[in-house]
Protein backbone atom coordinates (compact mmCIF):
# COMPACT_ATOMS: atom_id res chain seq x y z
CA UNK A 1 0.00 0.00 0.00
CA UNK A 2 1.51 3.30 -1.03
CA UNK A 3 1.18 6.50 0.92
CA UNK A 4 -1.18 9.02 -0.62
CA UNK A 5 -0.03 11.66 1.82
CA UNK A 6 3.17 12.00 3.74
CA UNK A 7 4.22 14.79 6.08
CA UNK A 8 7.83 15.05 7.22
CA UNK A 9 8.84 17.26 10.14
CA UNK A 10 6.27 19.95 9.35
CA UNK A 11 6.48 23.19 11.31
CA UNK A 12 4.03 26.05 11.23
CA UNK A 13 4.02 29.14 13.42
CA UNK A 14 1.81 32.20 13.53
CA UNK A 15 4.19 34.85 14.77
CA UNK A 16 5.81 33.48 17.91
CA UNK A 17 3.10 30.88 18.44
CA UNK A 18 4.22 27.49 17.14
CA UNK A 19 1.11 25.64 15.97
CA UNK A 20 2.71 22.59 14.33
CA UNK A 21 6.02 21.42 15.67
CA UNK A 22 8.12 18.87 13.78
CA UNK A 23 5.06 16.83 12.86
CA UNK A 24 5.26 13.71 10.68
CA UNK A 25 2.39 11.63 9.36
CA UNK A 26 1.77 8.96 6.71
CA UNK A 27 -1.63 8.28 5.20
CA UNK A 28 -1.77 5.07 3.11
CA UNK A 29 -4.27 4.69 0.27
CA UNK A 30 -7.89 3.80 1.21
CA UNK A 31 -7.33 4.57 4.88
CA UNK A 32 -8.87 7.09 7.23
CA UNK A 33 -6.64 8.97 9.63
CA UNK A 34 -8.47 10.66 12.48
CA UNK A 35 -6.94 13.63 14.30
CA UNK A 36 -8.16 14.21 17.82
CA UNK A 37 -7.12 16.77 20.37
CA UNK A 38 -8.32 19.84 22.18
CA UNK A 39 -9.24 23.02 20.32
CA UNK A 40 -6.05 24.85 19.44
CA UNK A 41 -3.98 21.68 19.27
CA UNK A 42 -3.31 22.29 15.56
CA UNK A 43 -5.78 19.94 13.87
CA UNK A 44 -7.36 22.55 11.61
CA UNK A 45 -4.03 24.18 10.84
CA UNK A 46 -2.63 20.79 9.83
CA UNK A 47 -5.50 20.26 7.37
CA UNK A 48 -5.16 23.78 6.00
CA UNK A 49 -1.42 23.25 5.48
CA UNK A 50 -2.06 20.01 3.57
CA UNK A 51 -4.49 21.90 1.34
CA UNK A 52 -1.89 24.65 0.88
CA UNK A 53 -4.24 27.24 2.33
CA UNK A 54 -1.38 27.94 4.74
CA UNK A 55 2.33 27.99 3.91
CA UNK A 56 4.43 25.82 6.22
CA UNK A 57 7.58 27.15 7.85
CA UNK A 58 9.64 23.97 7.65
CA UNK A 59 9.44 20.33 6.63
CA UNK A 60 7.90 18.73 3.56
CA UNK A 61 4.50 17.48 2.45
CA UNK A 62 4.18 14.85 -0.28
CA UNK A 63 1.09 13.92 -2.25
CA UNK A 64 1.53 10.61 -4.09
CA UNK A 65 5.27 11.04 -3.72
CA UNK A 66 5.31 14.55 -5.19
CA UNK A 67 6.51 17.32 -2.93
CA UNK A 68 3.67 19.85 -2.85
CA UNK A 69 5.50 22.25 -0.57
CA UNK A 70 7.89 23.12 -3.39
CA UNK A 71 7.44 26.88 -3.98
CA UNK A 72 7.28 26.42 -7.76
CA UNK A 73 4.45 23.90 -7.58
CA UNK A 74 1.17 24.88 -9.26
CA UNK A 75 -0.96 25.30 -6.17
CA UNK A 76 -4.29 25.21 -8.01
CA UNK A 77 -3.43 21.89 -9.66
CA UNK A 78 -2.60 20.32 -6.30
CA UNK A 79 -5.82 21.59 -4.73
CA UNK A 80 -7.77 19.98 -7.56
CA UNK A 81 -6.66 16.61 -6.21
CA UNK A 82 -7.73 17.44 -2.66
CA UNK A 83 -11.25 17.82 -1.37
CA UNK A 84 -11.85 19.84 1.76
CA UNK A 85 -14.94 20.16 3.93
CA UNK A 86 -15.11 22.88 6.57
CA UNK A 87 -16.68 23.12 9.99
CA UNK A 88 -18.83 26.07 8.86
CA UNK A 89 -19.88 24.44 5.53
CA UNK A 90 -18.82 27.48 3.46
CA UNK A 91 -21.33 26.85 0.70
CA UNK A 92 -21.65 29.70 -1.78
CA UNK A 93 -24.86 31.46 -0.69
CA UNK A 94 -25.50 33.06 -4.09
CA UNK A 95 -25.54 29.73 -5.89
CA UNK A 96 -28.10 26.92 -5.75
CA UNK A 97 -27.12 23.51 -4.40
CA UNK A 98 -26.61 22.22 -7.92
CA UNK A 99 -24.53 25.27 -8.93
CA UNK A 100 -22.40 24.90 -5.82
CA UNK A 101 -21.57 21.34 -6.80
CA UNK A 102 -21.01 21.91 -10.52
CA UNK A 103 -18.86 25.06 -10.21
CA UNK A 104 -15.52 23.29 -9.80
CA UNK A 105 -16.17 20.45 -12.31
CA UNK A 106 -17.16 23.02 -14.96
CA UNK A 107 -14.63 25.77 -14.27
CA UNK A 108 -11.69 23.74 -12.99
CA UNK A 109 -12.01 20.41 -14.78
CA UNK A 110 -13.61 21.95 -17.87
CA UNK A 111 -16.39 19.40 -17.85
CA UNK A 112 -19.42 19.88 -20.00
CA UNK A 113 -22.22 21.60 -18.01
CA UNK A 114 -24.70 18.79 -18.70
CA UNK A 115 -22.22 16.12 -17.68
CA UNK A 116 -21.38 17.98 -14.46
CA UNK A 117 -25.07 18.34 -13.66
CA UNK A 118 -25.63 14.62 -14.21
CA UNK A 119 -22.80 13.72 -11.86
CA UNK A 120 -24.05 16.20 -9.28
CA UNK A 121 -27.61 14.89 -9.50
CA UNK A 122 -26.45 11.29 -9.09
CA UNK A 123 -24.49 12.24 -5.98
CA UNK A 124 -27.45 14.21 -4.61
CA UNK A 125 -29.83 11.27 -5.04
CA UNK A 126 -27.32 8.89 -3.56
CA UNK A 127 -27.28 10.99 -0.39
CA UNK A 128 -31.03 11.71 -0.36
CA UNK A 129 -30.83 15.32 -1.41
CA UNK A 130 -32.23 15.12 -4.94
CA UNK A 131 -35.18 17.40 -4.09
CA UNK A 132 -32.85 20.13 -2.84
CA UNK A 133 -30.94 20.61 -6.12
CA UNK A 134 -32.47 23.98 -6.95
CA UNK A 135 -32.62 25.40 -3.44
CA UNK A 136 -30.27 28.03 -2.09
CA UNK A 137 -28.06 26.81 0.80
CA UNK A 138 -29.57 29.13 3.41
CA UNK A 139 -32.89 27.34 3.00
CA UNK A 140 -31.38 24.01 4.09
CA UNK A 141 -30.80 22.63 7.56
CA UNK A 142 -27.23 22.51 8.86
CA UNK A 143 -26.99 18.77 8.26
CA UNK A 144 -28.23 19.15 4.69
CA UNK A 145 -25.79 22.00 4.07
CA UNK A 146 -22.89 19.96 5.30
CA UNK A 147 -23.92 16.98 3.15
CA UNK A 148 -24.03 19.30 0.15
CA UNK A 149 -20.56 20.58 1.07
CA UNK A 150 -19.26 17.01 1.16
CA UNK A 151 -20.84 16.27 -2.22
CA UNK A 152 -19.32 19.48 -3.59
CA UNK A 153 -15.86 18.29 -2.62
CA UNK A 154 -16.54 14.80 -4.01
CA UNK A 155 -17.71 16.07 -7.39
CA UNK A 156 -14.12 16.71 -8.46
CA UNK A 157 -13.04 13.13 -7.65
CA UNK A 158 -10.44 14.06 -5.07
CA UNK A 159 -7.50 11.78 -4.37
CA UNK A 160 -7.70 12.69 -0.69
CA UNK A 161 -10.52 14.15 1.36
CA UNK A 162 -9.81 16.53 4.26
CA UNK A 163 -12.64 16.90 6.77
CA UNK A 164 -12.26 19.64 9.35
CA UNK A 165 -14.59 19.07 12.32
CA UNK A 166 -17.47 18.77 9.94
CA UNK A 167 -20.07 18.06 12.63
CA UNK A 168 -18.99 20.64 15.21
CA UNK A 169 -21.49 23.24 14.05
CA UNK A 170 -24.38 20.77 14.00
CA UNK A 171 -27.23 19.84 16.26
CA UNK A 172 -26.57 16.35 17.79
CA UNK A 173 -29.58 14.97 15.87
CA UNK A 174 -28.11 16.08 12.55
CA UNK A 175 -24.62 14.76 13.23
CA UNK A 176 -25.44 11.23 12.22
CA UNK A 177 -26.79 12.04 8.76
CA UNK A 178 -23.46 13.70 7.99
CA UNK A 179 -21.32 10.99 9.54
CA UNK A 180 -23.15 8.25 7.65
CA UNK A 181 -21.96 9.80 4.40
CA UNK A 182 -18.40 9.63 5.66
CA UNK A 183 -18.89 5.98 6.61
CA UNK A 184 -20.16 5.32 3.07
CA UNK A 185 -17.12 7.02 1.59
CA UNK A 186 -14.84 4.98 3.80
CA UNK A 187 -16.55 1.84 2.48
CA UNK A 188 -15.88 3.06 -1.05
CA UNK A 189 -12.19 3.25 -0.22
CA UNK A 190 -11.78 7.03 -0.13
CA UNK A 191 -8.54 8.14 1.51
CA UNK A 192 -9.35 10.64 4.27
CA UNK A 193 -7.85 12.78 6.99
CA UNK A 194 -10.40 14.00 9.51
CA UNK A 195 -10.35 16.19 12.55
CA UNK A 196 -13.22 15.36 14.87
CA UNK A 197 -14.54 15.42 18.41
CA UNK A 198 -16.89 12.50 17.78
CA UNK A 199 -14.96 9.66 19.43
CA UNK A 200 -17.60 7.02 18.73
CA UNK A 201 -17.45 7.86 15.06
CA UNK A 202 -13.64 7.90 15.16
CA UNK A 203 -13.73 4.34 16.47
CA UNK A 204 -15.91 3.26 13.53
CA UNK A 205 -13.93 4.74 10.63
CA UNK A 206 -10.37 5.29 11.81
CA UNK A 207 -7.55 3.11 10.57
CA UNK A 208 -5.27 5.29 12.61
CA UNK A 209 -6.03 7.76 15.38
CA UNK A 210 -3.55 10.54 16.14
CA UNK A 211 -3.73 12.55 19.33
CA UNK A 212 -2.45 16.08 18.81
CA UNK A 213 -1.23 18.27 21.61
CA UNK A 214 0.65 21.55 21.21
CA UNK A 215 1.33 20.96 17.54
CA UNK A 216 2.67 17.46 17.78
CA UNK A 217 1.34 13.91 17.65
CA UNK A 218 1.72 12.59 21.16
CA UNK A 219 0.14 9.23 20.58
CA UNK A 220 -0.90 7.29 17.52
CA UNK A 221 -2.26 3.87 16.74
CA UNK A 222 -5.50 2.02 16.07
CA UNK A 223 -8.70 3.43 17.52
CA UNK A 224 -8.75 0.52 19.96
CA UNK A 225 -5.26 1.41 21.22
CA UNK A 226 -5.51 5.20 21.42
CA UNK A 227 -9.11 5.65 22.47
CA UNK A 228 -9.54 2.62 24.74
CA UNK A 229 -6.06 2.07 26.14
CA UNK A 230 -4.12 5.33 25.86
CA UNK A 231 -0.62 5.20 27.31
CA UNK A 232 0.29 8.89 27.25
CA UNK A 233 -0.98 10.71 30.38
CA UNK A 234 -2.06 13.70 28.27
CA UNK A 235 -4.15 11.48 26.02
CA UNK A 236 -5.69 9.89 29.09
CA UNK A 237 -6.48 13.33 30.50
CA UNK A 238 -8.00 14.52 27.20
CA UNK A 239 -10.17 11.43 26.81
CA UNK A 240 -11.32 11.72 30.41
CA UNK A 241 -12.51 15.26 29.71
CA UNK A 242 -14.23 14.17 26.51
CA UNK A 243 -15.87 11.37 28.44
CA UNK A 244 -17.10 13.77 31.10
CA UNK A 245 -18.59 15.94 28.36
CA UNK A 246 -20.53 12.88 27.20
CA UNK A 247 -18.97 12.59 23.78
CA UNK A 248 -17.47 9.11 24.04
Amino acid sequence: MSNVLELQNVRKAFGSEVVLNNLSLQVPEHTATVLIGASGSGKSTLLRCINLLETIDDGQIFLDGLEITDPVIKVDEIRRKLGMVFQSFNLFPHKTVLENITLAPVKVQNKDVEEARDIAKKLLSRFDLADKADQYPDRLSGGQQQRVAIIRSLAVNPRLLLLDEITSALDPVLVNEVLSIVRDLKQDGMTMVLATHEMGFATQVADEVCFLESGNILERGSAEQVLKNPTNPKTQEFLKRVHQAGRL
Binding site: L53, G83, H94, V108, D138, S153
Partner: protein
Protein backbone atom coordinates in the same frame (compact mmCIF):
# COMPACT_ATOMS: atom_id res chain seq x y z
CA UNK B 1 -45.55 15.84 0.25
CA UNK B 2 -45.99 19.10 2.08
CA UNK B 3 -48.67 20.17 -0.39
CA UNK B 4 -50.83 17.20 0.52
CA UNK B 5 -50.65 18.18 4.15
CA UNK B 6 -51.68 21.73 3.35
CA UNK B 7 -54.78 20.70 1.40
CA UNK B 8 -55.96 18.40 4.18
CA UNK B 9 -55.70 21.14 6.77
CA UNK B 10 -58.55 23.48 7.52
CA UNK B 11 -58.21 26.29 10.05
CA UNK B 12 -59.57 25.72 13.53
CA UNK B 13 -62.32 27.90 14.99
CA UNK B 14 -59.77 29.63 17.19
CA UNK B 15 -57.68 30.49 14.11
CA UNK B 16 -60.78 31.83 12.30
CA UNK B 17 -61.57 33.97 15.35
CA UNK B 18 -58.03 35.26 15.37
CA UNK B 19 -58.18 36.16 11.70
CA UNK B 20 -61.47 38.02 12.15
CA UNK B 21 -60.00 39.93 15.07
CA UNK B 22 -56.85 40.75 13.09
CA UNK B 23 -58.97 42.08 10.21
CA UNK B 24 -60.93 44.21 12.65
CA UNK B 25 -57.73 45.58 14.21
CA UNK B 26 -56.31 46.30 10.76
CA UNK B 27 -59.45 48.19 9.74
CA UNK B 28 -59.25 50.24 12.90
CA UNK B 29 -55.58 51.05 12.28
CA UNK B 30 -56.23 52.05 8.66
CA UNK B 31 -59.02 54.34 9.85
CA UNK B 32 -56.75 55.99 12.42
CA UNK B 33 -54.02 56.42 9.78
CA UNK B 34 -56.47 57.98 7.31
CA UNK B 35 -58.01 60.39 9.84
CA UNK B 36 -54.62 61.53 11.17
CA UNK B 37 -53.25 61.98 7.64
CA UNK B 38 -56.21 64.11 6.57
CA UNK B 39 -55.94 66.19 9.73
CA UNK B 40 -52.18 66.81 9.53
CA UNK B 41 -51.89 67.30 5.78
CA UNK B 42 -55.12 69.33 5.66
CA UNK B 43 -53.91 71.66 8.41
CA UNK B 44 -50.56 72.12 6.69
CA UNK B 45 -52.30 72.94 3.37
CA UNK B 46 -54.62 75.43 5.02
CA UNK B 47 -51.71 77.14 6.81
CA UNK B 48 -49.75 77.27 3.55
CA UNK B 49 -52.60 78.56 1.37
CA UNK B 50 -53.88 81.12 3.85
CA UNK B 51 -50.45 82.50 4.74
CA UNK B 52 -50.00 86.12 3.63
CA UNK B 53 -47.23 85.44 1.08
CA UNK B 54 -48.88 82.44 -0.59
CA UNK B 55 -50.19 84.30 -3.67
CA UNK B 56 -46.71 85.63 -4.43
CA UNK B 57 -45.08 82.25 -3.81
CA UNK B 58 -47.62 80.57 -6.06
CA UNK B 59 -47.07 83.08 -8.83
CA UNK B 60 -43.27 82.86 -8.58
CA UNK B 61 -42.76 79.11 -8.11
CA UNK B 62 -45.94 77.36 -9.16
CA UNK B 63 -47.18 79.26 -12.22
CA UNK B 64 -48.86 76.35 -13.99
CA UNK B 65 -49.31 78.13 -17.33
CA UNK B 66 -45.67 79.16 -17.45
CA UNK B 67 -44.66 75.70 -16.27
CA UNK B 68 -46.44 74.18 -19.27
CA UNK B 69 -44.74 76.66 -21.59
CA UNK B 70 -41.19 75.86 -20.42
CA UNK B 71 -41.80 72.14 -19.97
CA UNK B 72 -40.60 71.09 -23.49
CA UNK B 73 -37.31 73.00 -23.18
CA UNK B 74 -36.56 71.70 -19.72
CA UNK B 75 -37.53 68.14 -20.72
CA UNK B 76 -35.22 68.40 -23.72
CA UNK B 77 -32.46 69.49 -21.32
CA UNK B 78 -33.23 66.53 -19.07
CA UNK B 79 -32.64 64.24 -22.03
CA UNK B 80 -29.02 65.43 -21.96
CA UNK B 81 -28.78 64.62 -18.24
CA UNK B 82 -30.15 61.16 -18.91
CA UNK B 83 -27.72 60.48 -21.74
CA UNK B 84 -24.88 61.74 -19.60
CA UNK B 85 -25.99 59.49 -16.74
CA UNK B 86 -26.33 56.49 -19.04
CA UNK B 87 -23.00 56.72 -20.89
CA UNK B 88 -21.21 58.11 -17.83
CA UNK B 89 -22.68 55.30 -15.73
CA UNK B 90 -21.31 52.63 -18.06
CA UNK B 91 -17.84 54.22 -18.08
CA UNK B 92 -17.94 54.64 -14.30
CA UNK B 93 -18.90 50.99 -13.81
CA UNK B 94 -16.03 49.72 -15.93
CA UNK B 95 -13.37 52.05 -14.50
CA UNK B 96 -14.55 51.59 -10.91
CA UNK B 97 -14.49 47.80 -11.25
CA UNK B 98 -10.94 47.97 -12.58
CA UNK B 99 -9.85 50.25 -9.75
CA UNK B 100 -11.51 48.08 -7.10
CA UNK B 101 -9.92 44.91 -8.47
CA UNK B 102 -6.51 46.59 -8.68
CA UNK B 103 -6.77 47.81 -5.12
CA UNK B 104 -7.67 44.36 -3.78
CA UNK B 105 -5.19 42.31 -5.83
CA UNK B 106 -2.05 40.90 -4.28
CA UNK B 107 -0.34 40.11 -7.57
CA UNK B 108 3.25 41.44 -7.42
CA UNK B 109 3.30 42.40 -11.12
CA UNK B 110 0.44 44.82 -10.52
CA UNK B 111 2.05 46.60 -7.56
CA UNK B 112 2.70 49.93 -9.37
CA UNK B 113 -0.87 49.93 -10.69
CA UNK B 114 -2.16 49.31 -7.20
CA UNK B 115 -0.35 52.43 -6.00
CA UNK B 116 -1.66 54.43 -8.95
CA UNK B 117 -5.20 53.24 -8.32
CA UNK B 118 -4.93 54.28 -4.67
CA UNK B 119 -3.62 57.72 -5.64
CA UNK B 120 -6.39 58.11 -8.21
CA UNK B 121 -9.10 57.28 -5.68
CA UNK B 122 -7.57 59.59 -3.06
CA UNK B 123 -7.45 62.52 -5.45
CA UNK B 124 -10.81 62.25 -7.15
CA UNK B 125 -12.72 61.23 -4.05
CA UNK B 126 -11.25 64.12 -2.10
CA UNK B 127 -11.61 67.01 -4.55
CA UNK B 128 -14.97 68.77 -5.04
CA UNK B 129 -16.74 67.64 -8.22
CA UNK B 130 -17.36 71.21 -9.31
CA UNK B 131 -13.60 71.90 -9.30
CA UNK B 132 -12.94 68.82 -11.44
CA UNK B 133 -15.66 69.95 -13.86
CA UNK B 134 -14.12 73.43 -14.12
CA UNK B 135 -10.60 72.02 -14.47
CA UNK B 136 -11.54 69.55 -17.19
CA UNK B 137 -14.17 71.71 -18.89
CA UNK B 138 -12.15 74.91 -19.14
CA UNK B 139 -8.61 73.70 -18.45
CA UNK B 140 -8.32 70.89 -20.99
CA UNK B 141 -9.48 72.95 -24.03
CA UNK B 142 -6.95 75.63 -22.99
CA UNK B 143 -4.18 73.12 -23.69
CA UNK B 144 -5.22 73.19 -27.37
CA UNK B 145 -4.18 69.57 -27.71
CA UNK B 146 -4.76 67.77 -30.98
CA UNK B 147 -7.40 65.06 -30.91
CA UNK B 148 -8.95 66.09 -27.61
CA UNK B 149 -12.58 66.99 -27.89
CA UNK B 150 -13.60 70.51 -26.96
CA UNK B 151 -17.24 69.51 -26.83
CA UNK B 152 -18.44 70.65 -23.40
CA UNK B 153 -20.81 67.69 -23.04
CA UNK B 154 -17.95 65.25 -23.55
CA UNK B 155 -15.65 67.17 -21.21
CA UNK B 156 -18.37 67.47 -18.58
CA UNK B 157 -19.01 63.73 -18.78
CA UNK B 158 -15.29 63.00 -18.40
CA UNK B 159 -15.14 65.15 -15.28
CA UNK B 160 -18.14 63.43 -13.73
CA UNK B 161 -16.76 59.99 -14.65
CA UNK B 162 -13.38 60.81 -13.07
CA UNK B 163 -14.97 61.67 -9.75
CA UNK B 164 -17.69 59.04 -9.62
CA UNK B 165 -15.45 56.16 -10.64
CA UNK B 166 -13.42 56.91 -7.51
CA UNK B 167 -16.56 56.81 -5.32
CA UNK B 168 -17.92 53.68 -6.92
CA UNK B 169 -14.53 51.91 -6.79
CA UNK B 170 -14.51 52.37 -3.02
CA UNK B 171 -18.03 51.00 -2.71
CA UNK B 172 -17.16 47.91 -4.76
CA UNK B 173 -13.92 47.43 -2.85
CA UNK B 174 -15.73 47.55 0.48
CA UNK B 175 -18.10 44.90 -0.89
CA UNK B 176 -15.19 42.67 -1.91
CA UNK B 177 -13.56 43.04 1.51
CA UNK B 178 -16.84 42.24 3.25
CA UNK B 179 -16.94 38.70 1.88
CA UNK B 180 -15.73 36.32 4.57
CA UNK B 181 -12.31 34.71 3.88
CA UNK B 182 -13.88 31.27 4.39
CA UNK B 183 -15.68 31.71 1.05
CA UNK B 184 -12.33 32.24 -0.64
CA UNK B 185 -10.84 29.26 1.21
CA UNK B 186 -13.74 27.05 0.07
CA UNK B 187 -13.34 28.16 -3.55
CA UNK B 188 -9.56 27.76 -3.57
CA UNK B 189 -9.83 24.32 -1.94
CA UNK B 190 -11.97 23.25 -4.90
CA UNK B 191 -9.09 24.16 -7.18
CA UNK B 192 -10.43 27.46 -8.50
CA UNK B 193 -7.69 29.96 -9.35
CA UNK B 194 -7.66 33.30 -7.55
CA UNK B 195 -9.15 34.93 -10.66
CA UNK B 196 -11.95 32.37 -10.88
CA UNK B 197 -12.57 32.72 -7.15
CA UNK B 198 -12.95 36.47 -7.57
CA UNK B 199 -15.20 36.14 -10.60
CA UNK B 200 -17.52 33.30 -9.60
CA UNK B 201 -17.55 33.45 -5.81
CA UNK B 202 -16.45 36.80 -4.37
CA UNK B 203 -17.67 39.39 -6.89
CA UNK B 204 -21.24 38.10 -7.32
CA UNK B 205 -21.76 38.21 -3.56
CA UNK B 206 -19.91 41.50 -3.14
CA UNK B 207 -21.86 43.29 -5.88
CA UNK B 208 -25.18 42.07 -4.53
CA UNK B 209 -24.21 43.44 -1.16
CA UNK B 210 -23.33 46.88 -2.52
CA UNK B 211 -26.41 47.37 -4.70
CA UNK B 212 -28.06 49.80 -2.23
CA UNK B 213 -25.02 52.11 -1.91
CA UNK B 214 -24.43 51.84 -5.66
CA UNK B 215 -27.99 52.92 -6.29
CA UNK B 216 -27.43 55.89 -4.01
CA UNK B 217 -24.42 56.81 -6.10
CA UNK B 218 -26.44 56.36 -9.29
CA UNK B 219 -29.16 58.73 -8.09
CA UNK B 220 -26.48 61.23 -7.01
CA UNK B 221 -24.88 60.85 -10.42
CA UNK B 222 -28.11 61.74 -12.18
CA UNK B 223 -28.49 64.80 -9.96
CA UNK B 224 -24.86 65.84 -10.24
CA UNK B 225 -24.98 65.78 -14.03
CA UNK B 226 -26.84 69.05 -13.48
CA UNK B 227 -23.48 70.55 -12.46
CA UNK B 228 -22.17 70.37 -16.04
CA UNK B 229 -24.55 73.28 -16.72
CA UNK B 230 -21.74 75.54 -15.44
CA UNK B 231 -19.85 74.66 -18.63
CA UNK B 232 -22.75 75.98 -20.67
CA UNK B 233 -24.30 72.62 -21.50
CA UNK B 234 -28.02 73.16 -22.03
CA UNK B 235 -29.20 70.42 -19.70
CA UNK B 236 -32.38 70.59 -17.60
CA UNK B 237 -30.80 72.86 -15.00
CA UNK B 238 -29.37 75.25 -17.57
CA UNK B 239 -32.61 75.29 -19.58
CA UNK B 240 -34.54 76.14 -16.44
CA UNK B 241 -32.00 78.82 -15.51
CA UNK B 242 -32.26 80.50 -18.90
CA UNK B 243 -36.03 80.66 -18.68
CA UNK B 244 -36.06 81.75 -15.05
CA UNK B 245 -33.64 84.62 -15.58
CA UNK B 246 -35.59 85.78 -18.63
CA UNK B 247 -38.84 86.28 -16.68
CA UNK B 248 -37.77 86.33 -13.01
CA UNK B 249 -40.28 83.55 -12.48
CA UNK B 250 -38.80 80.46 -10.82
CA UNK B 251 -41.36 77.93 -11.99
CA UNK B 252 -38.85 76.42 -14.50
CA UNK B 253 -36.62 75.34 -11.58
CA UNK B 254 -39.57 73.63 -9.96
CA UNK B 255 -40.39 71.93 -13.28
CA UNK B 256 -36.80 70.68 -13.52
CA UNK B 257 -36.85 69.46 -9.91
CA UNK B 258 -40.11 67.58 -10.50
CA UNK B 259 -38.69 65.98 -13.63
CA UNK B 260 -35.62 64.78 -11.71
CA UNK B 261 -37.83 63.41 -8.92
CA UNK B 262 -40.04 61.58 -11.43
CA UNK B 263 -37.00 59.55 -12.40
CA UNK B 264 -35.15 59.18 -9.11
CA UNK B 265 -38.06 58.19 -6.85
CA UNK B 266 -39.30 55.21 -8.93
CA UNK B 267 -35.69 54.14 -9.41
CA UNK B 268 -35.08 53.89 -5.66
CA UNK B 269 -38.40 52.15 -5.06
CA UNK B 270 -37.75 49.61 -7.79
CA UNK B 271 -34.30 48.75 -6.52
CA UNK B 272 -35.47 48.42 -2.93
CA UNK B 273 -38.02 45.90 -4.12
CA UNK B 274 -35.50 44.00 -6.25
CA UNK B 275 -33.12 43.71 -3.30
CA UNK B 276 -35.88 42.48 -1.03
CA UNK B 277 -36.98 39.76 -3.47
CA UNK B 278 -33.43 38.61 -3.99
CA UNK B 279 -32.81 38.41 -0.26
CA UNK B 280 -35.95 36.41 0.33
CA UNK B 281 -35.10 33.88 -2.36
CA UNK B 282 -31.68 33.22 -0.87
CA UNK B 283 -32.11 33.74 2.79
CA UNK B 284 -34.69 32.24 5.06
CA UNK B 285 -34.17 35.15 7.41
CA UNK B 286 -34.97 37.66 4.69
CA UNK B 287 -38.31 38.56 6.19
CA UNK B 288 -36.81 39.75 9.46
Amino acid sequence: MSEKKTSAWSPSLRELDRRALRRKLNRKQSLIAAVSSVLVLGTLTIILVTSPGWEVVKATFFDIEYGKEVFPTVAKGLWINLQLTFFGGIAIGIIAMGLALLRTTKSPALTPFRFLATAYVDIFRGAPLILIILLVGFGVPALRLQGISSNVIVLGTIAVVLTYSAYVAEVIRSGILSIHPSQRAAARSLGLTSGQTMRFVVLPQALRRVVPPLLNDFVSLLKDTGLVSILGVTDAVRAAQINASRTFNYTPYVVAAILFLLITIPMTRYTDRAIRQRTQAQNSEGAI
